[in-house]
């Protein structure tokens, strides 16, 4: 992958910026003139990973398209914290319609752009995991299947946060949510449930699918940028910790996201036309327990009796590492 071939510098390409890199090799977020598509004054919680992920992704898309994007946003925290009347934090043309229809609305916008002869304006749909993997899944699949010219960004914070942290089909096993309390013989979310929408997207054989994390900005920007090189349906699924819902310290948002990636629980990969073509390698392997321990939603795992479930989660990570080839070097 591109960012790994960059010459060695003090911090390589891991930091947001690097004064030693040529300007075009710096991250979008390092630019003094970045779009700040989601600007200050929004009402996201302190340390919100979704707010951060959205700015990362949209700013990257802004750079990739020369500022020509329109975004369609599903209902959810991102929408609510960014656009309470009379103030909006968006600096781009943006529309919110419903919780479950962002992908379809975006299809409509894309069709309109084509008909207006302005299809240099690129269309982005975005939503939370609930709006994507559950209620919006039908529209998402339809948009994929028609190969509409839309980039869909899912900000996965692993539950319905805006309504107070209820389980979604992206909630991981064992996670405590308001609807999967840490009680009974199987506390938290049940093992063996949920769905992997990135892989389902791959199965649609759309031009481009990728997973990304707020913990790896360069990788995220690369993927959004790469996605913009394709026409047709594209999907980027971004892992965004939610301090409120996960019970993590606001300051730890990136740390938590990094641990998810470095433990193998959240594999970063890319797929083109239905084939996985690369995975981002783990740099410093982290035990899953180090990820889980940072979050109160998993606190019950560290009480007596949690060992087997901890081991189960570790096994999930290890399976990911093998399945997605997360260890080793190179692309």
């Amino acid at each position: 992958m591109e960012m790994q071939t960059v010459r060695f510098y003090q911090t390589g390409t891991f930091t947001v910026g690097n004064r030693l890199l040529a300007p075009h090799e710096r991250s979008v977020q390092a630019e003094a003139q970045r779009a700040n598509a989601l600007t200050s004054g929004h009402r996201a919680c302190q340390g919100c990973g979704e707010a951060l992920g959205a700015r990362y992704a949209i700013d990257a898309a802004m750079r990739a398209t020369g500022g020509k994007i329109v975004a369609v946003n599903a209902t959810g925290c991102l929408e609510v914290f960014s656009t309470p009347y009379p103030e909006t934090s968006w600096q781009i043309p943006w529309i919110h319609s419903l919780f479950g229809n962002a992908a379809a609305v975006a299809s409509g916008v894309a069709a309109a752009m084509r008909r207006k002869g302005t299809d240099d304006v690129r269309v982005i749909a975005q939503g939370g995991d609930g709006g994507t993997t559950d209620i919006g899944f039908g529209c998402l699949s339809g948009m994929f299947e028609r190969n509409d010219d839309v980039l869909y960004l899912c900000y996965d914070n692993e539950a319905y946060m805006n309504t107070g942290v209820q389980r979604s089909s992206a909630t991981p096993p064992a996670a405590r949510t308001a609807t999967t309390p840490a009680m009974g013989p199987e506390p938290g979310n049940v093992f063996g449930t949920g769905k992997n929408v990135p892989l389902i997207a791959v199965a649609h054989q759309i031009p481009y699918v990728a997973t990304a994390s707020v913990a790896n900005l360069r990788d995220l920007e690369y993927k959004v940028t790469r996605a913009m090189e394709f026409r047709g349906a594209r999907y980027v699924h971004i892992h965004v910790p939610c301090p409120l819902g996960w019970g993590s310290a606001p300051a730890d948002t990136i740390k938590v996201a990094r641990a998810a990636v470095e433990s193998g629980l959240f594999p970063l990969f890319e797929a083109v036309n239905g084939e996985i073509v690369s995975s981002t390698k783990i740099r410093r392997r982290t035990p899953t327990a180090d990820y889980l321990r940072l979050q109160k939603r998993f606190a019950h795992l560290f009480q007596p009796g949690g060992e087997a479930r901890l081991a189960h989660i570790q096994a999930i990570a290890e399976r990911n590492i093998v399945k997605f080839g997360l260890e080793g070097t190179g692309a």
Binding site: G67, K68, I69, V70, V72, N73, E79, V80, T83, P84, Y85, P86, T88, W90, Q91, I92, P93, W94, I95, H96, S97, L98, G100, N101, A104, V105, A106, S107, G108, V109, A110, A111, A112, M113, R114, R115, K116, V121, G138, C139, S141, G142, E145, R146
Partner: protein
């Protein structure tokens, strides 16, 4: 150009003449022929510069329409019955966002029991969704209303439903006059959106509004429809001037001069009603009728004007407000507020039951004698209902009502079309 053609096809042609840029739809009887016709025109290149999008649900259909309309292009969709309910959330959303989408409703009953035939339950369920609702009496009117609907929607930034009776109109072959493209172009200017998603002038559309401004937002939506009360007759008049025929408007009174009894109804049944009116007038009965074309906005003043001199008003409704009776009747009663006259609600034609001239005549005669119940179910099979009520009273686990009725009906079902 005069043509003998199917109603759905006439609508397809009419919509095509309006030069939509995006059409999206999901199939449901009896809407299918309309969108099939449009799909064919797009594929064949007859309807140039238009996207026809096959979506995965009605919810998506209207959502796509929301997107394309917000992005500033003329957008059309159509549905019926279950489909309209499936898109319900988006129906409210489209009007809330002020998007001038035009949608045809091929009116059909709502299940369960599932039923593909005509009544008005579907569009009536969305009567308060903020859309303008126009009901066509004939295929010609349906055709004409679509042309007027786009103009109205875009002038006001408000979506419009054109409702036409499923099968009765959609599938009927009738002679229609299809206007020329230049005539339509002269009436319907290119779409100039009120707001548009455009990187050159970015805006945030669809903000979250709290108690501090929500009432005002709602008031403004209402105000928009009040303006429509003026624009609808004006557009109908202009349409008549240009196209040489009367179509649309708020209401259409028929032989109401001196009428003691006036029948009020929506849609195609007005044709039958008018025939019965003619027949009874010939027999010296002072009867007339009023067709409501614009159900939303509801033409309170026009109706009051049309009905205030009658002795009684019979509102014939193709839907049922279960637990209340009539829906249209409510509005009519409101229009006549303070005026003492007898009002009757007649629920008729549910799920496609034929409304025959004979039944109507019998009904109007009873009305003339003021012998009607406040709420009447036209041609209700009272034996059947009584038997079923008995049966249900007898057994706790009585099973589904619809099946039981059909079983009992077996031999007579052919009578009900």
């Amino acid at each position: 150009m005069l043509k003998q053609t199917e109603g759905s096809h006439a609508i397809a042609e009419s919509v095509a003449l309006c030069r939509p840029k995006v059409i999206c739809a999901y199939p449901i009887t009896p809407q299918t022929h309309i969108v099939e016709g449009l799909g064919e025109m797009v594929k064949a290149g007859e309807l140039a510069d238009c996207e026809f999008i096959n979506v995965e649900s009605e919810f998506a259909a209207l959502s796509v329409a929301i997107g394309s309309s917000a992005a500033g292009v003329r957008t059309y969709t159509a549905t019926s019955s279950q489909g309209l309910l499936f898109m319900a959330e988006a129906v409210y959303n489209a009007s809330g966002l002020g998007l001038p989408i035009v949608m045809t409703i091929g009116n059909r009953a709502i299940g369960a029991p599932i039923n593909i035939w005509n009544d008005h339950s579907d569009s009536m369920s969305m009567r308060d969704a903020g859309w303008i609702q126009l009901y066509a009496e004939t295929n010609q009117e349906a055709l004409d209303l679509h042309i007027q609907a786009f103009r109205l929607a875009e002038e006001l930034s408000c979506p419009v439903m054109v409702c036409m009776d499923g099968f009765i109109l959609t599938h009927a072959y009738e002679r229609v006059d299809v206007p020329s493209q230049s005539e339509v172009d002269a009436f319907l200017p290119p779409f100039e959106p009120r707001q548009v998603l455009d990187p050159a002038e970015p805006v945030t559309i669809g903000a979250m509004v709290g108690p501090e401004a929500f009432t005002e937002v709602r008031y403004l939506a209402h105000h928009k429809q009040m303006r429509a009360l003026e624009r609808i007759p004006a557009l109908a008049a202009e349409f008549e001037r240009r196209f040489g025929r009367a179509s649309g408007g708020l209401i259409r009174p028929y032989r109401t001069e001196g009428a003691e009894t006036i029948v009020v109804a929506l849609g195609s049944v007005n044709g039958t009603i008018q025939e019965v009116v003619d027949e009874m007038r010939e027999a010296g009965v002072a009867i007339g009728s009023v067709a409501i074309t614009s159900f939303r906005p509801f033409p309170l003043a026009a109706l009051r004007e049309a009905l205030m001199h009658a002795k009684r008003v019979v509102v014939l409704e193709k839907c049922l407000a279960v637990g209340l009776g009539g829906i249209v009747s409510d509005g009519v009663r409101k229009a006549l507020s303070g005026i003492q006259l007898n009002g009757y609600t007649v629920v008729a034609g549910l799920g496609g039951r034929a409304i025959t001239r004979a039944s109507l005549k019998r009904l109007f005669e009873e009305a003339g004698r003021d012998a009607l119940e406040a709420v009447t179910f036209l041609d209700l099979n009272t034996d059947l209902v009584a038997h079923e009520l008995d049966r249900e009273a007898g057994t706790r686990r009585s099973g589904p009502t619809a099946e039981a009725l059909l079983k009992r009906l077996g031999t007579v079902s052919a009578r009900i079309g």
